[in-house]
C-alpha cells in the first residue's frame, strides 16, 4: 500500500554503552520509549525515519526502581503500570494519583516515565507532579564524541511554553530521582482530556508542608498542554510562611494574581482554561483551610 516508503532501521541497544555507540553514529535517530505519543501524531505513518529508530526497550539499566532512606530512583523505561504497582508503599500519594490519571490500565502498560517526560512539545500530568515534588532527572548528553552526565531538576527541563530542553540534540534521560521527604498537603487535578482534547485541558498541582499554624515548602505548578508550563515562584513565596487558615480575601487575591500572571506570560490560554485553573487553585486553598480548622 505504501510503496516507496523505506522501512526504518531499528537499533536495539542492550546497555547504555551500546546506546552511546549507536547515538554517535546516528545522531538524528528517533529514541523510542513507549511510543504512545509518537504513534499518536497524525504524520506518524507512513513516514520515513531516515536515521533509524533506537528502541530502548531492551536496556535493563533503564527499567530499575531503587530506593534508599532519602530518595527513590526510577528508570526511564519503567511503565506507569509497573511504577504504580511497585511503588504503592514508597511513592507520594500525589504521584500515584497522577499515574492513575494518565489513562486506563491498557494505556498505562505502554506509557513510560521517561517517554512521558520527554515529549518534545506537550507537557502532561507527570511533568507537572514531578516538578512540584522537586524531582530531578539524570540526562546523558552525547556531543562531539563526548558523554556528559548531568542531574537537572524536572522543573528546569522545560521552557515556559512547556517545550523540552535537554541541553543537547542527542540526549538520553536515564532515570529520575524523587526525595522521600514530602509535605502532608498534596493536591492534583486534571480537567479535560489531555490525550483527546489537549486544547481544552489543564493540570493543576500543589504541594505544601503544614507546620503548626503555618505553611512551608509550597510548590505550585499549572500546565496547559502545548501552551504553558507555569511555576509561579511569586505565589509560592507568598504562600510559604503564611498563617493558616488563609483569609478568604487573600485566597481570592492570590487566585486573581495567578490569572494575571498566566495572561501576561502565556497569551494562548483560553478564558475557560484560566477560569477553571483559578477555581481549582482556590479550591486547594479552601481545602487547606478546612483541614487546618478540623
Amino acid at each position: 500500500m505504501y510503496e516507496g516508503v523505506r522501512s526504518p532501521l531499528v537499533y536495539t541497544p542492550r546497555s547504555i554503552g551500546e546506546f552511546s555507540t549507536i547515538i554517535f553514529r546516528h545522531p538524528q535517530a528517533i529514541l523510542w520509549a513507549g511510543g504512545t505519543h509518537l504513534m499518536a501524531s497524525p504524520d506518524y505513518y507512513p513516514s520515513e525515519a531516515r536515521d533509524g529508530i533506537i528502541d530502548l526497550a531492551f536496556m535493563d539499566e533503564l527499567k530499575r526502581i531503587t530506593r534508599n532512606d532519602r530518595y527513590v530512583e526510577i528508570g526511564a523505561m519503567v511503565t506507569a503500570r509497573q511504577l504504580l504497582s511497585a511503588g504503592r508503599l514508597l511513592l507520594p500519594p500525589i504521584l500515584q494519583q497522577t499515574l492513575r490519571s494518565m489513562g486506563t490500565q491498557i494505556v498505562r502498560r505502554q506509557v513510560t516515565v521517561g517517554g512521558s517526560l520527554c515529549i518534545s512539545d506537550a507537557r502532561l500530568s507527570l511533568s507537572t507532579t514531578l516538578a512540584i515534588l522537586s524531582a530531578s532527572a539524570e540526562v546523558k548528553r552525547y556531543d562531539q564524541g563526548k558523554v556528559t552526565t548531568v542531574w537537572i531538576p524536572v522543573a528546569k527541563l522545560y521552557d515556559k511554553e512547556g517545550k523540552l530542553n535537554l541541553g543537547s540534540k542527542s540526549a538520553l534521560l536515564t532515570r529520575i530521582r524523587i526525595g522521600l521527604e514530602f509535605g502532608d498537603f498534596q493536591r492534583f487535578v486534571v480537567f479535560g482530556d489531555p490525550i483527546r482534547k489537549s486544547d481544552e485541558c489543564g493540570i493543576v498541582a500543589l504541594h505544601a508542608k503544614r507546620e503548626q499554624n503555618g505553611l512551608s515548602k509550597v510548590q505550585f505548578c499549572v500546565t496547559f498542554p502545548r501552551k504553558a508550563f507555569h511555576i509561579s515562584k511569586d505565589l509560592e513565596s507568598k504562600l510559604s510562611g503564611s498563617a493558616l487558615p488563609i483569609h478568604p480575601e487573600k485566597v481570592n487575591m492570590l487566585s486573581h494574581e495567578l490569572v494575571a500572571e498566566l495572561t501576561k506570560m502565556h497569551s494562548t490560554i483560553s478564558d475557560l482554561q484560566l477560569e477553571r485553573a483559578r477555581r481549582i487553585f482556590e479550591s486547594f486553598l479552601h481545602d487547606l483551610n478546612s483541614q487546618s480548622l478540623s
Binding site: 522501512s7 491498557i106 505502554q110
Partner: protein
C-alpha cells in the same frame, strides 16, 4: 523488515515496514475483520488486541515491538472459554454493545476480568470477587477507553459484574 510472531495461534513471518502500527498490519496485511480502527493513535479504543495475554491498543504498537510476541485478536478470542463468560453476561443482562464497538468492548471487559481475577489471586485468603465490593470508579475509567456512546455505563458495569460471577463460578467448579 521480517518479523516473526504468532497471530491467533498461527506462526507467521511478516515482511512489513518496521514502524507500521500493529492495527494496520492486522487490517491491511492480514485482512483481520475484527478490527475497525482508523483513529491513528488517538485512543478511540476500537483496536484492542491481546499481546502476550495483555490487552493493548494495537494502534500504539509498532511492528518492531511484536517480534516473537503472541497476538490474539477478537477473531480467535471469541472461540475461547473466557469469552463465553462475557457472552453469557450479555444474554443475562439483555444488553449488548453495538456492532461497531462490540469486539473492543468485549476485549476491555476481558482485561478488567483478568485484572480482578489476578488481584483475587494475590489475596488468596480474601473472599471471591463476587463478594468483594467492586471498585466501580476504576471499572468506569477502564470502560471509558472506548469512546462509543452506544451503552450506558451502568449497563456495562452490570455486564462486568455478571461476567465476573460466571468466571468465578467456573473457576470454583474447576477447582473442586
Amino acid at each position: 523488515m521480517k518479523i516473526e510472531c504468532t497471530i491467533d495461534g498461527k506462526a507467521l513471518t511478516l515482511s512489513v515496514n518496521s514502524n507500521k502500527p500493529l492495527s494496520l498490519i492486522l487490517m491491511e496485511d492480514l485482512e483481520n475483520q475484527s478490527l475497525t480502527s482508523y483513529c491513528r493513535g488517538n485512543a478511540c479504543g476500537n483496536c484492542i488486541v491481546m499481546v502476550n495475554d495483555e490487552a493493548v491498543l494495537s494502534c500504539l504498537v509498532p511492528a518492531f515491538r511484536i517480534r516473537g510476541a503472541k497476538i490474539r485478536t477478537f477473531e480467535n478470542y471469541q472461540r475461547s472459554r473466557q469469552y463465553r463468560d462475557i457472552e453469557r453476561a450479555y444474554k443475562a443482562t439483555g444488553s449488548r454493545p453495538c456492532p461497531a464497538c462490540f469486539n473492543a468492548r468485549s476485549m476491555i471487559i476481558e482485561s478488567i476480568l483478568q485484572d480482578l481475577s489476578s488481584s483475587n489471586k494475590q489475596h488468596a485468603t480474601a473472599p471471591l470477587a463476587k463478594d468483594v465490593k467492586l471498585d466501580k470508579e476504576k471499572i468506569i475509567r477502564e470502560l471509558s477507553l472506548n469512546t462509543c456512546q452506544c451503552m450506558d455505563m451502568a449497563e456495562l458495569i452490570q455486564i462486568v459484574e455478571v461476567a465476573l460471577g460466571y468466571r468465578n463460578r467456573r473457576r470454583r467448579v474447576r477447582r473442586s
